[in-house]
Amino acid sequence: MALATAEITTSNDFGPAVGLSCRECGTRYPLGPSFACIECFGPLEVAYTWSGPDFDGAAPVTREQIAAGPANIWRYRALLPVPADVAAKPNLAPGWTKLVKADNLARELGLRSLHVKDDSGNPTHSFKDRVVAIALEAARTFGFHTLSCSSTGNLAGAVTAAAARAGLDACVFIPADLEEPKIVMASVYGGRLVGIEGTYDEVNRFCSELIGDPLGDRWGFVNVNLRPYYAEGSKTLAYEIAEQLGWRIPDQIVIPVASGSQLTKIDKGFKELIKLGLVEDKPYKIFAAQAEGCSPVSAAFKAGREVVQPVKPRTIAKSLAIGNPADGPYVLDIARRTAGAVEDVTDAEIVDAVRLLARTEGIFAETAGGVTVGVLKKLTEKGLLDPEAETVVLNTGDGLKTLDAVASGARPTAVIRPSLDAFRTAVVENS
């Protein structure tokens, strides 16, 4: 077989992780660079000492131990598939981003309590640094020499930056027509950046085939053969939000959806905190946000369907432009199980929402954040979101990466000579 080169390592290298298990049928596998179940093609997830039936109820870590940890995702390392000394190895140490109390936006939308979890504060300015940090550690353990991914843009930058810090080669794949700033970021850290003529789904397909080919041997694709580890990184968003709220899960949360991986793992993170007794057990609602031009999950939700029919994306929210979302069925399940919803917004609504968040809270989101805040607004107007409940909305990326989306309306209020008279005439008397 071409792949299966990396040998399976001892569970010590993965901290509390004890194996992989199929999310669909529960079949167990040893820890390794595998990502799909041989029985049913279901996604493999990391299983822990405490996730099995033998769990004795004693949490592997206390709130106090977590609080004494570093101000990054490694404060949760006891809950992640990483070795105890992970923080000492070169990595970008992402996470512990701000949870901003958004009173101005709350007032504007008529909400009582709203926070923005602002992941634009990560090292490469998107939440992708979280998932890459875990996948990088797995790549090192499996002995992969090249860190790779298929990407809608943000992941590419996170991967090339992490590889640079770790001293690995990088080769990342993107649709050729991405936003300029994302292309700049993905290439500035070095490594190779390959633009594919096609959509993200076609990039994904290409990378999946590369994995099964001798050409891709010894390559760690963070979102393909390292997917189980990668995906666990998103749980840290759930942990941080709960800890930053004073060890409490919010009543409702709005999360953007491309493949649906992040949303699925935030739900897993909340459930783990409850299971481990680190937070009080309480109901929470998960709302999913998509762009209308790429809303296969929202369409399925609204039609009451179980099956997510893929679409060909057409939206300015390019980071969310995945027409064939692998975790789409789980997003549907989670939205339904938690009494949440899946909603979508138009490109115009996305731009309005980027401006709204910037104008009210001083947070400049990329288009994905516009999708999420736009959906927050729409859900509130439709009465699907409880205005009295404690609400968190995610901003997963930085507005500087999608400047074009809001550039057309951006110009100086006035251009004048440097004189008080000119200022009085043009600015003061004109306003």
Binding site: M1, A36, C40, N204, S208, G212, R227, S259, N324
Partner: protein
């Protein structure tokens, strides 16, 4: 019609490690039936109990995801490339 079928790593135990095998059939359904005759058991990995393509598998004929065409009834012209690919996380 003779087509080539790309086999994902997790199914290569059925094909003796071969990454690509020859197939036969006028539609994807026929091709998968023949594939299962040649490599017994492989069909049930790709199709579920109801005979539909499993939820977490993507099947392509040429460049197209068959869900954009006719699913299992998608025509497989001579020389077509069929690919079976597990779903992966987004990026």
């Amino acid at each position: 019609m003779s087509v080539s079928v790309r086999i994902p790593t997790i199914l290569r135990t059925y094909t003796d490690g071969a990454a690509e095998v020859t197939g036969e059939g006028a539609t994807l359904r026929d091709v998968l039936q023949k594939l299962d005759a040649d490599y017994p058991g492989i069909g049930a990995r790709i199709l579920d109990e109801t005979g539909s393509i499993r939820r977490f598998v993507n099947v392509y004929v040429g460049e197209e995801d068959v869900r954009f065409v006719d699913g299992l009834d998608t025509p497989t012209p001579d020389g077509a490339q069929v690919s079976v690919i597990p779903a992966v996380a987004g990026g």
